[in-house]
Symmetry: D2
């Protein structure tokens, strides 16, 4: 989930006013996500993969401090020299960093101090955004935009991590109190036939994108079908009841080992309670909605389900070509409903869709110079691509070419299953 | 550190007024220990052995609720039914419990809710203490006294755990801001010759004691010498500089494996900074005081040091006989100085002293009936006895017969080394 | 290394005599590989990934027993019913199996019993090969051919595992006593420019192939260059001396974690001895030959080296297209030299070449029915493709389309590095 | 199981002829124990605690080479310089050593080479025993006696380890083919009342003993009862069927954690087969004999059983006083029956008896100078004393004062349960 942004000065036509407005809006959004939290919630790190909300709030601020203020504000001195160590995530060229799995052990800086840090950096950022002279505007603006996309990625992580952190409490406390009633519209599965041939994927146009979305390149696709919506909880329940978690022949070898050693018998967040399946959501423990898409499955589970259904997962290129044909609309975080709903299509939003494509470099992908590009490819191993965004993705953060990626065993992200088949 | 208290009604001559005063004083003391904390500090659990301060505050309250209110207040209903699971430490007959290593993942109940819980239980406890009729007073009073000693044990744990939790932050924040100047009185080591023969140890007298201090029994001691103070940092530094951590012949076999696999090269909380040894204390990182006693060593280190010095550690019976001869005075927590100071004697207070005695049952030790006695002996394996209390022990909590116990690798408790030798 | 074979009856024009001769030759070759072993060597399993030679000899025999004798010899009863459990590797539809990591704990059956088992199965196999009636010949022959390819895969594993097992002995004993003198011909690195465009890869022709090599399909390649030989020890030493193992910016994130936690500072089998690099080979510990190709590197190391060199690893399709242009000749196991030598080309033989291609299914890849196809795709996750065979590969076992695969951290296989670059 | 021997020259009145005869007899006994083994059995190390039989045979030989030949044979050069590293068990002052858990990975030296090593050392030892001049005889003889006791300890380990190694094979192969019929004499449990008071334990007399048996010293005992035989399988089965392994209140806290994490539900070597309990013995898998003593239990299980029975385990001093009253007779290895049988008494032989005494130093215990004494006390932590010998102990190896010791979770040794109670 952490690809660096590629700077594309040509595409920047943002005005100062627009960028200042975006900065304020996006920075405020992070604080808004944390507003329903109790003070104690800010501190929790339930597993090594999650971070305490407090840490996220500080880290994204450190990003602006390190890559904008330090580079563009003459004589800038860090708000607190210790923060460079505490809030660096993985930028090894910037310096050493605190061990990831120990972020939850930092009671200092406190939540107040972190908000103070944010306010201080915001003040200087806004001054700089208004005051920097024109000759340096372009360079700085592209860094700021990058920082804003980075913060939006962490906003999605905030939802994911808060959900997992609360789940770790046996009381299963809710993040938000009420929930819009689920629409239980049963919706039949249809199949769209799609042509193959030589196509292009990846972003060519000016504008913002992460570097892993470039360069645009040719790829050969075979004719195929895509299903008209995500796999539902009801369908996934059929898989479970048909012995899905007990039949090794359905699973990748590594997947079978993983579910055995972790004793997985259902998606993350499913819990049987008095013989009725429930699902933990950001609204607490709820009855499982059969019509809603199955969420929080790993690649291993997605692949096993597809195998069981006699289908396969789509390639990332197949999904990208489909996404390019659709308006960029869907169930994103602006809906205010932070759980996937029954529906049709669901190519954008609802849940990230696991693809059958390992996360690797596109042809001619080149590392960028400097810290920004230090790790362009460093996550391109052992992970798989997911596409399309989810109900906790900011709507202005997604693109048809966007490549999200997770390890095949990860499932705390909002991920679901779309089926495909060969023609 | 968690032996149960033995109820000894015969010894209870406490008046209602006295017990009410004790209850208020001891309960207030727990809150006072937490007063210097930031809200975020309440949440930290740095290792499985420590607990978040918030958890301690709730657990000791649960103890009164479970073993006093539920047994003596007719119709009492728990403040929150979930707390029985969350705040039970290890009382298996009372019910299931939350996994110890995951206490730091509980953001709910919040700190406020825990203080609210304390206030609610305190109110009912005080009502009960005033109102219970005379026929049940005796029984209840003995449970309350037990609960108060239990809370005092957790007060010591609070200091220990807060220290370790803060140490886990690379910024090494201080619990308290200033520290009384160390008295660097160099003090020569002397040896007291002590007779052997058939002696008795263990508590016979009426009055309060943990069950592991009873029954009083005979034991044969050989003539020996005890050193006149604890081993100093300067002496321990000699051991280190003489290759103490590199010479397997000085170590117990399990100790040698342990220091290799954990890469121990000095006591816990020692840190070399610009070629000068420092020590982390509740006052932050300080220069190592050569005259102060070495603290936070494991049994393995204490034993290796004694081996290197050509001496041995004292037996618990040897120390108990000595403690019986001394006034119950020393550097306890009422001094307000939460770090051991240079001094003489130091039999009481300063640091718990590792003994050469494994923690086992005294002859004719019998398990008590019911939950209170469920686990009387359950920790009597793999641990060693420590004696004498420390600078974070409440002065009215210690006795000559008091048996503290830890695993030989534990060192986050305030433990030091006294030497002995055979005659 | 364990993809199943695809049965392709159309391609089988093998006569009985030819197949009987192949059977005898290939079965004998397994025994010949073990001839230099001491009896004790048969028993060793140095890591979970390797197997004791004794186990390999039994497992490949079990394969013929289970998939040929049981299916084609009426009334066949297993040589020993326990062997189905002990020598099943991972065929879950056939039944339960002994835990992989515990193969080295089986002292029974003994080596003699295993050779007896081989002799018994061989006798029945040869009878069956001569005697089966024509109507069933085709079906059985394709199974036998599959079993022979399977045994050739295990012959390569025998060399790999024997090497690692001997390496685990601090005395570094040799498998074979003498070694052909290395030819230290220094050989300059050249680059061949190669066209891109729409090409096909995968096997279409009749004949034998593993299922993962099919179906033939289109793929788009960009123009590129391939280097004229494998990376040499001298070049890899430059990487090490330039801080290759100390510079996180050169490594994949997972690779960096792996080399830190495993303390890797050179390829497997390199050992510094009196300030001179040596390399453990099947001939014992030898001086490192600078002109020979670097061997036994992981994908992580291959990728980091390429990154350091400003190049990349080739795609599997790039290599397949190149291999198709070359005669199927190279340094294979028939040379009798079981260590890579300096040379040019080296596309076939010498060392398996890591590619930049994750091991995934080709388009329209379909699982086969039954046990033979149970696991066709089950290893298609978390592994990378290697191409071209090595000095321990049987020359009649390799094809241009052959896809070997290992985890990115594996390095006990005979794997090396070829560089590529974009045009 | 590895305490060093104390040299006690005063006690040595052994003649040359006698010692030569002992040497030959005891060395031959090691080879005799291995005679039923297949060649492959020599190589197995099923867990880190066991060693391959081949390693035992070499290690005891290395002991004579290192501590006798090197010290007493002028100009002696080691048989093979590598053996000092491979076959040193834990004598750190002698030099570095091969990692214990990797002993099973040594295929070289081979079994033949190890027997050759034994023969070579034996030849030199016998020459030295005949030829050394009188002035050095005494010193050398005491070392040789020590080496012979050391070898007898390893003979017991050979039986234990062979049993566990064979058990690790799912076929459960037998070490010996037939087994004397069990005598199923039901035998009632009686209790002997025993006086307390000031007693002495430990060896004072001249003669051979391990250093941990000295010095003789006073100890105070309370009056108590000892049961008249070991706990039987039938009695232990009652414990299991009464929920023994499911009731935390019966267990030490560390024991409860251990049985949960290791999923222990019965003694080691018990196996339910078609609803009937069987026990793996050196004679293979046999029906459980209800009248035979329960074997291969850990301290945790012994203590939980005693707790369940309302009794306790005896102290080592209690057992030593009892053993001193009895003739040194019992079911030892000379019976040729390597499994405990139903019987009465059973104080000597049958099974080692867990005591309630942690393994610590006796008062005034002093480390000996040099390598022989390097580790006299190094195992005196975390282990418990066992007394009385077992059916695999050599009859001339046991004494009333003999202190065996194991970790509380160990159970591959031949250990059983005797009950005691306070009066």
């Amino acid at each position: 989930m952490s690809a660096m942004l590629q700077e594309n000065p040509a595409g920047l036509m943002t005005s100062r006013q627009e960028l200042i407005a975006s900065y304020q809006r996006i920075r405020d959004a992070s604080a808004a996500i944390c507003r329903p939290l109790n003070r104690d919630d800010y501190q929790i790190q339930s597993i090594a993969e999650t971070s305490p909300p407090k840490w996220h709030l500080a880290h994204v601020t450190w990003f602006f401090e390190t890559f904008v203020l330090q580079d563009f504000l003459p004589g800038y001195r860090p708000f607190n020299p210790a923060y460079g160590y505490l809030f660096n995530s993985y930028y090894q060229t910037v310096g050493k960093m605190h061990e990831r799995a120990r972020r939850g052990l930092l009671s200092r800086p406190t939540v107040e101090q972190v908000y103070h840090y944010r306010a201080d950096v915001d003040k200087r950022m806004l001054d700089l955004l208004s005051g920097i002279d024109e000759s340096r505007w372009q360079n700085m603006a592209s860094r700021v935009i990058l920082g804003l996309h980075h913060e939006q990625q962490h906003q999605e992580l905030l939802y994911m991590d808060i959900k997992h952190n609360l789940w770790s409490n046996p009381e299963r406390p809710a993040y938000l109190k009420r929930h819009r009633q689920d629409i239980e519209r049963p919706c039949g599965l249809k199949w769209e036939q799609r042509q193959g041939g030589l196509v292009t994927i990846g972003l060519e146009a000016a504008g913002f994108a992460f570097d892993n979305e470039r360069p645009r390149h040719n790829i050969w696709l075979e004719p195929h079908r895509l299903s008209s919506r995500l796999v539902s909880n009801a369908e996934y329940l059929d898989f479970i009841e048909d012995g899905g978690y007990k039949r090794p022949e359905l699973w990748l070898s590594d997947g079978w080992s993983h579910i055995l050693s972790h004793q997985w018998k259902s998606p993350l967040y499913w819990q049987k309670h008095e013989n009725q399946w429930h699902e933990f959501t950001l609204y607490g423990l709820e009855m499982l909605n059969p019509a809603a898409p199955v969420a929080h499955v790993s690649y291993y589970e997605a692949d096993a389900f597809a195998h069981w259904a006699g289908k396969r997962l789509p390639l990332e290129a197949e999904l990208e070509r489909k996404l390019l044909e659709l308006p960029l609309k869907g169930h994103f975080s602006d809906s205010g409903v932070f759980h996937p709903q029954p529906g049709e299509g669901q190519f954008y939003g609802a849940l990230w869709e696991w693809t059958a494509s390992p996360y690797v470099a596109y042809p001619r992908f080149k590392p960028l110079p400097g810290s920004m590009g230090e790790y362009n490819g460093k996550f391109m191993c052992n992970q798989w691509v997911l596409r399309g965004g989810s109900c906790i993705t900011q709507p202005d953060h997604i693109r048809p070419t966007y490549r999200n990626f997770f390890y095949p065993h990860d499932r705390w992200q909002f991920a679901g299953i779309r089926l495909a088949e060969d023609l």
